[in-house]
């Protein structure tokens, strides 16, 4: 079930430039992700990873260039979600919201929609959170509910902004299993991450971003020391359990 071909990339940017006032968050970024690919989006904080996602879903406009999606069926899980504790939604309500994109404003839930919601809840082990208020959940539980919402969307393209940052072990495991499943289902996945080891192991492409595109290609040939030094210039980088300060290891690269 290939959802997009190489000729028709699932996500493509062409000279994409996004500015906030005088600051260029993205500078002439161009790439094309084939349908069904798994891409790790690497870059330090402030490299424009979130901006790239936000531009893809239309939350920020491009100052120049374009970003195109092959399908409107896109799920985006932002890194931060600011929901006040008293917000009146339950875990189940949040997962059900994932169906709003397909159903539109008023069409009632069909059996298939209920099925997708139930599947998503099972996949992320959030069935027991269905009647709990979202604001009362722990950070990891919230993240699993939000991932379940993305799963319920039945999207062709999934954009996940650092889903593994600051989550507990069960959430980490559930998210990895989910990514695997989505990939097997032929969906296109882009995950922003700081985890170089995982980027090389679990993804078929890496996209190194530092406001401009530093490198893009298969992990084994792309993640050279030079590329990483340029991508993470002057930043502390996490490689497995080690913390590496790129500036110190590559004198003159910063």
């Amino acid at each position: 079930m290939a959802r997009a071909s190489l000729a028709d990339p699932a996500l493509a940017a062409d000279g994409l430039t996004v500015s906030f006032g005088d600051v260029r968050a993205l500078d002439e970024v161009s790439f094309a992700l084939p349908g069904g690919s798994r891409t790790a989006l690497l870059g330090p904080n402030g490299a424009g990873k979130s901006t790239l996602f936000r531009a893809a879903v239309g939350l920020v406009g491009a100052a120049a260039g374009t970003v195109r999606l092959a399908s409107r069926r896109v799920a985006f899980v932002p890194q931060h979600i600011d929901v006040e504790p008293a917000f009146p939604v339950t875990g189940a309500d949040v997962v059900r919201m994932g169906r709003y994109g397909d159903l539109g404003w008023v069409r009632p839930f069909r059996p298939r929609d209920h099925e997708l919601v139930a599947d998503a809840q099972r996949a992320l082990d959030v069935e027991h959170l269905a009647d709990r208020r979202f604001g009362d959940l722990s950070g990891g539980e919230r993240q699993r509910v939000l991932l379940a919402q993305a799963a319920a969307q039945d999207a062709d393209l999934l954009l996940l902004d650092e889903p593994f940052t600051g989550v507990d072990r069960p959430t980490h495991a559930a998210a990895r299993t989910l990514l695997q499943r989505w990939s097997e289902q032929g969906r296109t996945i882009v995950v922003a991450t700081h985890d170089l080891e995982s980027a090389a192991r679990d993804y078929d492409r890496v996209l190194c971003l530092n406001r401009r595109l530093v490198a893009f290609g298969p992990a084994e040939t792309t993640c050279t020391e030079e590329v990483l030094a340029e991508t993470f210039a002057g930043h502390v980088l996490r490689v497995g359990e080690l913390l590496v300060d790129v500036a110190h290891h590559h004198h003159g690269a910063g």
């Binding site: 006032g21 936000r54 879903v57 239309g58 939350l59 409107r72 896109v74 799920a75 985006f76 899980v77 932002p78 979600i81 600011d82 929901v83 008293a86 917000f87 009146p88 939604v89 339950t90 309500d93 949040v94 919201m97 994932g98 709003y100 994109g101 159903l103 539109g104 404003w105 008023v106 208020r133 009362d136 939000l146 919402q149 969307q153 954009l159």
Partner: protein, 281 residues
């Protein structure tokens, strides 16, 4: 029992209570989104922003002649127009300036308020009853007003029902709503228009200041009781609607301003619920 039934023997009390209850249901539901989106100041700005529209409508229809009654429909249209100007001007300043929406709302708020006062001061031989504008005239409500309020309330609530899903998604998280394919900026504007409609429908009965009370207090009280939005809307509408006859009762027996008594009851509901509900974990 006479204590309770006596006041409602008078037709003007019944009519006023009914109109206030309708406004309560409307504001109780719309106010849920005001609270969930943190738009309290925006709602305040819309409530005051209607003043210059009222002044202009008065100047045109009453022609400044002393004692002439202003045209009710024109006043409503003027209020609506000025409310929409407030909403759109705030949106424009927000987008152009990159200041916080709160700041943009406050700038437009004071401008509209000052403009309204300046316009009113120009009306010769007549001082528009500012008290009625700010605090309403529940006891002066006519049968026609009730019919208008009922139809307008039903229309706005139907609109809210249609927009329930996008409004919920937008209130929950703007970014995720956008990712669900929802036009978040336009939806936000539509939400402002709906708050404006609630203000315009409500200020004729409870006044521009007190309509804000009906937009804020019942949803805040309902939020203490519920963990799902449909339940919050129902509870909020119920608290607001019940506040109307209770407030009238209070007003009758203690000889208090009717509109303000209604809002006091609604705020009291919030305080009582806050005090008696189980302490959250």
């Amino acid at each position: 029992m006479d204590f309770i039934t006596d006041p409602f023997q008078a037709e003007f009390v019944r009519t006023g209570a009914l109109a206030a209850a309708l406004v309560g249901v409307l504001c109780g539901v719309v106010g849920c989104f005001v609270i969930l989106r943190g738009m309290a100041l925006m709602a305040d700005s819309l409530a005051h922003g209607v003043l210059p529209g009222i002044a202009i409508a008065f100047m045109i229809t009453a022609g400044g002649a002393a004692g002439e009654e202003p045209d009710e429909a024109a006043i409503t249209a003027g209020a609506l127009g000025a409310g929409l100007v407030t909403a759109f001007a705030t949106g424009l300043i927000f987008r152009r300036s990159r200041l916080r929406e709160e700041t943009a709302a406050a700038v437009v708020f004071v401008f509209m308020l000052a403009l309204g006062v300046v316009l009113i001061s120009r009306v010769e031989g007549y001082t528009v009853d500012l008290t009625a504008f700010l605090f309403g005239d529940v006891l002066g409500v006519t049968g026609g007003d009730v019919a208008f309020t009922a139809v307008a309330t039903a229309a706005v609530l139907a609109l809210v029902a249609v927009l329930y899903r996008p409004f919920l998604a937008l209130s929950f998280d703007r970014q995720r709503a956008a990712a669900l394919g929802m036009p978040v900026d336009r939806l936000h504007l539509v939400m402002l228009v709906i708050v404006t409609l609630a203000v315009v429908i409500g200020f004729r009965v409870v006044g521009a200041l007190l309509v804000l009370g009906m937009l804020m207090a019942p949803p805040a009280a309902a939020a203490l009781l519920t963990k799902r939005l449909p339940a919050m809307m129902l509870a909020s509408a119920g608290i607001a609607a019940a506040s109307a006859p209770l407030g009238m009762l209070l007003s009758w027996h203690l000889d208090l301003a009717a509109g303000a008594s209604i809002v006091l009851v609604a705020v009291s509901a919030f305080v009582v619920l806050l005090a008696v509900r189980p302490v959250p974990r």
